[in-house]
């Protein structure tokens, strides 16, 4: 059984290593500061005992006030998982750092989020539309996009 | 030295294809031969029971395509509303069977027919006259075991090909 590490438990350890990186926790997730996402993710990937080597899924949710990007991390070695969340308050030009350098599995998913949700991932090697054509107006997965 | 890779694997494969030369083909010559479909078949038609329908439009609400259009009289007669218009556009319908499943009065059934292709899109709209339930109508047993029991058993390919070991 994959053990879901509780957010609070993990946050306590992380706060000491990278101060100020965590701005909120819940039972199964940690909410991470935008700026320290990269360093924290690198830490999660390499730290012995954690070693989240597998990025299951990336999602973005539009809450009107902010976008939330959700990373599902799993460790194949220790068989445990954690949910990482990042918020992005800028609606006009949202951007967060890309994790392609750490997990290449993020490549297509970040591209898809950019296409459908309009969040720009900084540092992504190929940040362009993936399922819709170039020149499509708007980002259809946003809640305020009118489908018809 | 391992004696390998001189064509034995290919020879084994050739034996399999040769064996199939003497087996019966599984093809069904469709217009001449037909198989019994499943007793729960969701064919591309629906059957509507006028006596039981109360005009509650639960089916229309359950349809996620919006293929069902229903218009009832404004005033109830007894405990039901007379249905003035009841149409299903089978061009939009994906035969998911949700309308049949949710009908609280057991008034809508899937049809067992599957040869309802039409030349024009307009002809795909099934009106209540077309859909009306009669006892002769070939009704599928989807969610209605009592209808299912009347239908012939499904022909299974599993039982059709019997290859002895």
């Amino acid at each position: 059984m994959t053990r879901a590490i509780s957010g609070e438990e993990l946050a306590a350890g992380l706060e000491q290593r990278i101060p100020g990186s965590i701005i909120g926790t819940s039972k199964e997730s940690i909410l991470v500061n935008n700026q320290s996402l990269l360093s924290l993710a690198a830490h999660l990937k390499t730290e012995p005992g954690l070693e989240f080597d597998f990025l299951s899924s990336i999602t973005a949710v539009d809450y009107y006030d902010y976008f939330e990007v959700i990373y599902q991390l799993t460790s194949l070695e220790h068989n445990h998982s954690i949910v990482l969340k990042v918020r992005c308050h800028d609606r006009e030009n949202p951007a967060i750092p890309s994790l392609v350098g750490l997990w290449r599995g993020a490549e297509l998913q970040e591209q898809e989020i950019f296409d459908l949700m309009g969040i720009r991932f900084e540092g992504h090697p190929n940040m362009k539309r993936i399922v819709l054509w170039e020149g499509f107006q708007g980002h259809p997965q946003r809640r305020d996009f009118l489908s018809w | 030295m391992k004696l390998d890779y001189y064509g034995l694997g290919i020879a084994k494969g050739l034996m399999v294809t040769l064996k199939h030369l003497f087996r019966r083909p599984v093809t069904v010559q469709y217009p001449e031969q037909t198989l019994n479909t499943s007793r729960r078949i969701r064919g591309n038609e629906l059957v509507w029971n006028e006596e039981k329908c109360t005009g509650c439009s639960t089916c229309a609400k359950a349809c996620h395509i919006g293929a069902i259009s229903i218009v009832t009289a404004p005033n109830p007669e007894g405990d039901k509303y007379p249905v003035e218009k009841y149409e299903i556009d089978t061009g939009y319908c994906i035969m998911c069977g949700m309308c049949v499943e949710v009908c609280p009065f057991e008034a809508l059934y899937m049809g067992a027919g599957y040869e309802k292709a039409q030349y024009r899109r307009g002809d795909l709209v099934q009106s209540k006259e077309v859909m009306k339930y009669t006892s002769e109508k070939y009704v599928s047993g989807y969610f209605y075991p009592e209808f299912a029991a009347q239908l012939p058993l499904q022909t299974l390919l599993l039982e059709k090909i019997t290859e002895e070991e």
Partner: protein, 368 residues
């Protein structure tokens, strides 16, 4: 004298016999060798995630059939499990067992298509795929018996199944699982040791263990590279923890290993079905849940299953209304394409098709 040569840009797809749908690869060739490849998709994008937001929870079940349309039962199951987790809906024991039987049958059906079209891509003229489609037909017959349709089953509901299986189902299923291993042996005899197939697939398109994990590969792709990661064992859902089965693994991560992993998985699936049939309890197949509308409490949930292609995950966000606020689908076919470039570059055109076939994608799931 230096000969001046130009690379040739070749569009493979979107309408090409072996791109398994409307996938397009823009390959740059140097002679026969591929020096660059760029996957282009989106030709089948229907915006299913957006459609989910505009439908109630129940109304979305038929649409999940259309994700990975060769394994619709698995998608049904994944989505229903996600909603059950979100709304804490109990599932009766019998329903769980029948779900497992259906999911494993569907895994066999999907792998049959995958292996058949992979061998067809290798150039075996239609024979393997026709044999395998014949076996799949038997499975599809069984699905038709329980659900009434042959491709888009729409069979599972929140809290169980739409209907119990008919009486004639179990004898037919027993007959099928008795036959199946024999046919699998026959397919192995047909091509497993074929020298040409070995020459075409062994060592071709090697995906290393590290790359596979880093690229979030799942399913037979990951297992073919030698990582024994199967959600049925690693994170047992439903009643999988009660069955005994092995996780077949490849050694080198080449196309041949992936082909073998799929064939072995079919044998394991037959094993699981046999055990599930023996343990199948009697009882209801659907717990008391509303037929029309459910209102799960606000919250979010990520639930994943091992679909034939890999980890199929549903990320649902509820705001307490009748429709999901956000429904994200982690399609395994989509993410398995991440390492496409790495695997194909440096191989010849013919190998590119074989490697691509061994990834086994379904465009309905890639584009969603």
């Amino acid at each position: 004298m230096v000969m001046k040569t130009e690379p040739l840009v070749l569009n493979i797809g979107p309408a090409h016999p072996s791109t398994h749908g409307v996938f397009r690869m823009r390959a740059t060739l140097d002679g026969e060798v591929i020096i660059d490849v760029e996957p282009i998709f989106g030709y089948l994008h229907r915006g299913i995630e957006k459609l989910a937001e505009e439908r109630t929870y129940q109304q979305f079940i038929p649409l999940t059939d259309r994700l990975d349309y060769v394994s619709a039962m698995g998608n049904n199951m994944a989505y229903c499990m996600a909603v059950e987790k979100l709304a804490a809906i109990p599932v009766p024991e019998r329903a769980e067992y029948i779900r497992v039987i259906m999911a494993e049958l569907q895994r066999i059906a999907s792998h049959l298509i995958a292996v058949g079209s992979f061998l067809n891509d290798c150039g075996a003229f239609m024979t393997p795929i026709l044999y395998m489609v014949r076996e799949r037909e038997k499975i599809v017959d069984l699905f038709e018996m329980v659900s009434g349709q042959r491709l888009t089953y729409n069979y599972m509901r929140f809290g169980g199944l739409s209907q119990d299986v008919p009486d004639e189902f179990l004898p037919a299923l027993r007959k099928f699982i008795d036959q199946m291993p024999r046919y699998l042996d026959e397919y192995d005899q047909l091509l497993k040791e074929n020298e040409i197939l070995l020459a075409r697939t062994k060592g071709v398109g090697i995906l290393s263990k590290e790359t596979a994990i880093n690229c979030s590969m799942t399913g037979p792709m990951l297992r073919g590279s030698g990582v024994p990661w199967d959600l049925r064992k690693a994170d047992p859902y439903s009643v999988y923890s009660r069955f005994e089965f092995d996780i077949p693994c490849g050694a080198r991560g080449d196309s041949y290993d992936r082909y073998r992993v799929r064939v072995e998985e079919m044998r394991q699936s037959v094993r699981i079905i046999r055990q599930a049939m023996e343990q199948l309890p009697v009882g209801p197949v659907r717990s008391k849940t509303p037929v029309m509308l459910i209102r799960p409490p606000a919250g979010e949930v990520y639930s994943h299953v091992e679909s034939p292609k890999g980890e199929l995950g549903f990320y649902l966000v509820s705001d307490g209304s009748i429709a999901p606020y956000r429904c994200h689908i982690r399609g395994p076919s989509f993410i398995n394409l991440t390492a496409l470039r790495e695997m194909i570059v440096g191989w010849k055109v013919a190998d590119a098709i074989v490697i691509f076939g061994s990834i086994d994608i379904v465009m309905g799931e890639v584009d969603r």
